[in-house]
Subunit: 196 residues, 2 copies
């Protein structure tokens, strides 16, 4: 993403993004104005345009960087790692990553409709790359005879939805801590593919 | 919900709700004005208030009636029905019901944040009643020794998220028809609780 150089913009740029994220998550992209975003970080409406050309660029940049971080942080498999261990690592990673970023996850799902077609295509391709990583694990498990899966593509989508759903109900300080939640989801995922 | 009597309002009332649903799903609740909703059904802004006192009432009424229909249509279990059959029936019902109402499902999740606290409490209680129906099936399966579940509450949330996720990727006329999708999700759900 284009950003102004220098220490001032290095601080203000992230503050603009954080404010946009907060406001989009609270009110929805379409209901938030550039003026509101500027107000939130104490800038005049005109000054905001030094940091971003428009609201669509802000939305795209938030969603793009979120997907990029997701793809980069997903642990790569060791060549000899067995599919069960890889699936477990995927499940635990997915839950941890998503619980840490509730607003971004909410926006990444809900505001797809507000991306321009070109921007949507980019985000969609990144999503598919992420899904392909899980699909690959499921295929490997099938081939190794460790998993029993009726439809790899559909199981990929089902497992991702199940894991992401943790964001809709998990509250810090509740009955289960993150480690406990991860362990239970791990168990559900392995059982769902017939590996346990 | 309060409605004017007579044949004219009986036709216009549902059209107002349908227009609000369409616009909320497309642009988000906060971005849609009463004037836009009126325009969509060919009413003046003033005339719209004959059908609904405000936008919040429209949103609440859409979400409330959606949850009520969900609760009413969910098949009741026969007293002697075994937990596996009940779980399968729940999974199939949930998928069919949600695939038929993509806009309502989207709004029911996304616009919770825009309900007043009182309205939120009502919808939340209805959600919990629906979740309790699944939880009851899972408990029955555990007690009967047919299911292996580590945490009934969390498995309830995980299965509902997995099943609802079908709305994010299913497209009519794709590789799988609804019957095929239902069969695969049924298999995933039964395996996830250790019943297959």
């Amino acid at each position: 993403m284009a950003r102004r150089q220098g220490s001032h913009s290095d601080i203000t740029g992230p503050r603009v993004r954080a404010a946009a994220l907060r406001l989009f998550a609270r009110h929805g992209y379409a209901a938030v104005s550039m003026r509101q975003i500027a107000g939130e970080v104490g800038l005049g409406a005109g000054a905001l345009y030094l940091y971003t050309p428009d609201k669509q660029t802000l939305l795209f940049s938030l969603m793009h960087d979120h997907m990029q971080e997701l793809l980069e942080k997903l642990p790569a498999a060791a060549p000899d790692q067995d599919p069960r261990a890889r699936l477990e690592a995927f499940a635990r990673f997915h839950i941890r990553f998503h619980l840490d970023r509730p607003d971004l996850v909410f926006i990444a799902y809900m505001e797809l409709r507000n991306l321009t077609p070109e921007n949507f295509a980019v985000i969609e391709a990144m999503r598919r790359r992420y899904e392909a990583r899980l699909e690959e694990i499921l295929c490997a498990g099938e081939l190794a005879g460790e998993f029993r899966i009726r439809d790899v593509k559909l199981t990929t989508m089902a497992l991702i939805a199940m894991l992401t759903g943790v964001n809709t109900w998990f509250r810090e300080g509740g009955r289960l801590d993150r480690e406990g939640v991860e362990a239970i989801y791990r168990d559900l995922v392995l059982k769902a593919v017939g590996a346990e």
